[in-house]
């Protein structure tokens, strides 16, 4: 029997399946991200894997199509003829309008879901609604006290807060409020509970932290790559960033917004403690201790 060539539809299907498998393999097995040390980092990594998978499929598919065309349809020596006079194909064009539209719609809905799970959709104007009913009285008090420290934002009720992402999810042990001041070229961390200032951010693993940030001079940005979080610190507009560290360790705090000559050197460290270690650190920094140390920033 005469051998029949494999129909192109089947070849296309096989190539498509290989592409999808390759995309999923890349998305699942190639890790391009640093350690995940906060409760929303796994969510971020989930989103990243999905985007990486889709991106790999699309990129390899288009690259393959292009290289195939360049090889298969290259002009041979001595051939001065023309290609096929196809000026368009409306069905085909509708089809490839639909592909990116569906992909983008899916990615958009999915990333909205991730954003919502990270706590991005919680209204920012009212800090009390931010924590809902999970707040323990201690946390309420501490939030109040941090507001009092920022009384310049207007006495009539809550200050307008901007930006931020991250829900107060680890509510069991209350919220640790920290006032962050960014200035050229350092971050200062003020702990309202003990009324002392630290040059490093110390937090307790599993306890939600609420950073209330304001800049003294120019715009800075607070970024911890292992937390997958970043928030600009803006003069004149306090911003808030809430997160729950999950993995004890020391991670860099990086200023991500150009803030002057020493911008690259504007770094600090966030130390995520085991709960007991954090309590020890907090005790050792209570005002009496600090006073004996002549108010020097402790780290």
């Amino acid at each position: 029997m005469r051998s029949v060539p494999i129909p192109s539809a089947i070849l296309t299907l096989v190539v498509g399946m290989i592409l999808v498998v390759a995309g999923f393999w890349v998305g699942q097995n190639i890790n391009l991200l640093p350690a995940a040390a906060s409760s929303n980092a796994p969510l971020y990594d989930e989103l990243f894997a999905v985007l990486f998978t889709i991106g790999t499929i699309l990129f390899l598919g288009i690259l393959g199509l292009l290289i195939f065309s360049l090889v298969r349809f290259r002009r041979r020596d001595g051939d001065s003829g023309d290609g096929v006079a196809v000026e368009g194909n409306l069905q085909l064009e509708i089809f490839w309008t639909a592909i990116p539209a569906i992909v983008v719609l899916f990615v958009g809905i999915y990333s909205y879901d991730i954003y919502d799970r990270m706590g991005g959709m919680i209204p920012l104007a009212d800090p009390h609604s931010m924590h809902g009913s999970m707040d323990s009285p201690v946390a309420q008090v501490s939030v109040r006290s941090s507001q009092n420290l920022q009384s310049s934002e207007g006495e009539a009720g809550t200050p307008r807060l901007w930006g931020g992402i991250g829900a107060a999810s680890g509510g069991s042990s209350g919220i640790l409020p920290v006032d962050v001041t960014a200035l050229q070229f350092a971050f200062l961390f003020h702990y309202p509970e003990g009324d002392f200032i630290s040059g490093e951010l110390h937090v307790k693993s599993g306890q939600t932290v609420e950073l209330r940030m304001e800049a003294r001079d120019v715009i800075h940005a607070f970024w911890v790559p292992e937390f997958r979080l970043k928030q600009d610190v803006i003069p004149g507009q306090p911003t808030v960033l809430t997160f729950t560290p999950t993995l004890p360790g020391r991670y860099p705090i990086i200023c991500a917004e150009l803030c002057g000559p020493y911008h690259g050197g504007m770094r600090s460290t966030v130390v995520v403690h085991e709960p007991e270690a954090f309590d020890r650190w907090l005790d050792s920094n209570l005002p009496a201790t600090v006073a004996s140390a002549a108010g020097a920033p402790t780290g």
Binding site: G55, N89, E93, K230
Partner: protein, 559 residues
């Protein structure tokens, strides 16, 4: 590059002798000829490309080591500010708009010049003083240090003289851009040869029409913003200064209202140029002309309403973050149409793998990659981690260098025979392509990983764990610098001694090829040709023995 041919060839006898210089001196004069102005833009732009490249070289040398050891930190910030400003405002925008636009648009609409030739010359001659002012500021008073974005309050606290000169220079360049945009709109809408319909125009006309609307709508906003910023610096008003009751974030909204569309001002003309190059060298009609036009218009509209995706960490309310995420992601739809249409244009063609085609195809690869990272960046949760990091630097350079600059080079290989009447050397061209392609990807691909793992942008010093990849990136930058040598040699040598091209070496159908190379002063001797099918390449379908073929079958043909 254009000084080689004798001026007499382009000098019709009927023109009255005037005070305008002739010959090569035209290129240093206030010439009103759109072709002269186009080449003035191109040569001036390329000069500034070399300047901007040298500045990038300083940045890459500094980043060879994790400590700040090559230039002082202030100088480093001046370098990155000037690099961004020069590359955007003095190289890419003037070249893809001013150079190719001025040279090609009158041909494409069948006109003998632009609608406002004097305004056109004024627009060009605003560029050299603005450029030299900007560069001179470094030597005289110290250049601006606050990045090409000039965010206050940083731009209010860095040395004032450099910042004010920067503002003045960008205002001049913005003015030049607006003049050019008005001119393109008037030329395309009102100067078309009688009988030539809008939907018969070459795609580059549509791209320039869309771009010019963006220029005219968005650039004045930047101008107004920078005027207010200069008041804040000079007169200590408080528009953007929180210490005086101003708002620093409002500046960012106003700035990006221009500067996001600016990306499309840099990229849409490149889309148009690619749409001209691919059909000629693939010997096929441009696939899906109508959807290409509508996708340009879609990009223009969406491009105006996505600016706040640059500000997802700036204290933006959740609803605003969501709106701008959706609007930004949806730009992928019209852009995707264009890329699939280009791939379909290549499919089944007879593709000449020359330098123009190679650069255009590399553009497709890079832009698809940059587009995929762009859709990812549009997602708020994704962006919050990588905003203001080297991931964004990598993404941006894939769009504007891997995209637009590759198209500029491809376009020079394509139109050089028209500009000069001589061919460029194909071997040097491919060497140029190979070096640029390898160097570019080596330089910018690793930066995505750097950003994901904790390297912020605009830093002179960084975590030592990133040393290795930064050195790889710098090697790539060195290759890119070296790659300009074969190009410069090629252009200089070919302009004098290259093989004579003839009027239409590519057997192209668009109107600029239907005249002599280089063209006479008023473009055609005799009446302008009426080109209603600028992409009428290809063998008719019935000639290739596919009697009952539908487009679908033709598409899948070529097993």
């Amino acid at each position: 590059m254009t000084l080689a041919f004798p001026p007499q060839t382009s000098q019709p006898q009927s023109l009255p002798p005037g005070l305008q210089p002739q010959g090569w001196l035209r290129y240093l004069s206030f010439s009103l000829d759109h072709k002269v102005i186009g080449l003035q833009y191109m040569v001036a732009g390329f000069f500034f490309y070399l300047v901007g490249g040298a500045l990038a070289g300083v940045i890459r040398v500094e980043l060879l080591s994790p400590i700040s050891d090559f230039v002082p930190r202030e100088t480093y910030n001046e370098m990155l500010t000037l690099h961004g400003t020069v590359m955007i405002f003095l190289w890419i925008v003037p070249v893809v708009n001013g150079a190719f636009g001025n040279y090609l648009i009158p041909f494409y609409v069948g006109a003998r010049d632009m609608a406002f030739p004097r305004l056109n010359a004024v627009a060009f001659w605003m560029i050299p003083p603005a450029g030299f002012l900007l560069i001179a500021s470094y030597f005289i008073a110290g250049a601006a240090q606050s990045g090409w974005t000039a965010y206050p309050p940083l731009s209010l606290t860095t040395p004032a003289a450099g910042q004010v000169v920067w503002i003045l220079s960008v205002l001049l360049l913005g003015g030049s851009s607006i003049f050019g945009g008005i001119n393109f709109i008037a030329t395309i809408l009102k100067l078309r040869r009688p009988g030539l319909k809008m939907m018969q125009l070459p795609m580059y006309c549509w791209a320039m029409l869309g771009t010019s609307f963006l220029v005219v709508l968005a650039t004045p906003v930047l101008a107004g913003t920078l005027v207010l910023l200069s008041f804040d610096i000079i007169a200590h008003t408080g528009f953007f200064n929180p210490a005086l009751g101003g708002n620093a974030v409002v500046y960012q909204h106003l700035f990006w209202f221009y500067s996001h569309p600016a990306v499309y001002i840099m990229v849409l003309p490149a889309f148009g140029l690619v749409s001209e190059i691919l059909p000629v060298h693939a010997r096929k009609p441009l696939f899906g002309y109508t959807t290409m036009v509508y996708s340009i218009l879609g990009i223009v509209f969406l491009g105006l309403i996505v600016w706040a995706h640059h500000m997802f960490t700036s204290g933006t309310p959740p609803w605003m973050r969501l709106f701008f995420t959706i609007a930004t992601a949806f730009i992928a739809v019209p852009t995707g149409i264009k890329f699939f249409n280009w791939l379909a244009t290549l499919w089944g063609g007879k593709i000449a793998l020359n330098s123009a085609m190679l650069f255009s195809c590399a553009f497709i690869v890079h832009f698809v990659f940059g587009g995929i990272t762009g859709v990812a960046l549009a997602q708020v949760p994704f962006d919050i981690h990588v905003h203001d990091t080297y991931f964004v630097v990598g993404h941006f350079h894939y769009i504007v260098y891997g995209g637009t600059v590759f198209v500029v080079f491809g376009s020079i290989y394509h139109w050089f025979p028209k500009f000069t009447g001589r061919m460029l050397n194909e071997h040097l061209g491919r060497l140029h392509f190979a070096l640029t392609f390898i160097g570019f990807n080596l330089c910018f691909a690793p930066q995505h990983w750097l950003g994901l793992n904790g390297m912020p942008r605009r830093v002179a010093e960084y975590d030592p764990q990133f040393t290795m990849l930064n050195q790889v990136s710098s090697v790539g930058a060195l290759l890119m610098a070296i790659s300009t040598l074969p190009f410069l040699i090629n252009v200089a040598w070919s302009a004098w001694a290259g093989p004579v091209a003839g009027d239409n070496p590519w057997r192209a159908l668009t109107p600029e090829w239907l005249t002599s190379s280089p063209p006479p002063v008023e473009n055609w001797i005799g009446p302008a040709p009426l080109v209603t099918h600028p992409y009428g390449y290809g063998v008719a379908e019935d000639q290739i023995d596919l009697k009952s073929a539908t487009g679908q079958q033709l598409w899948s043909r070529g097993r």
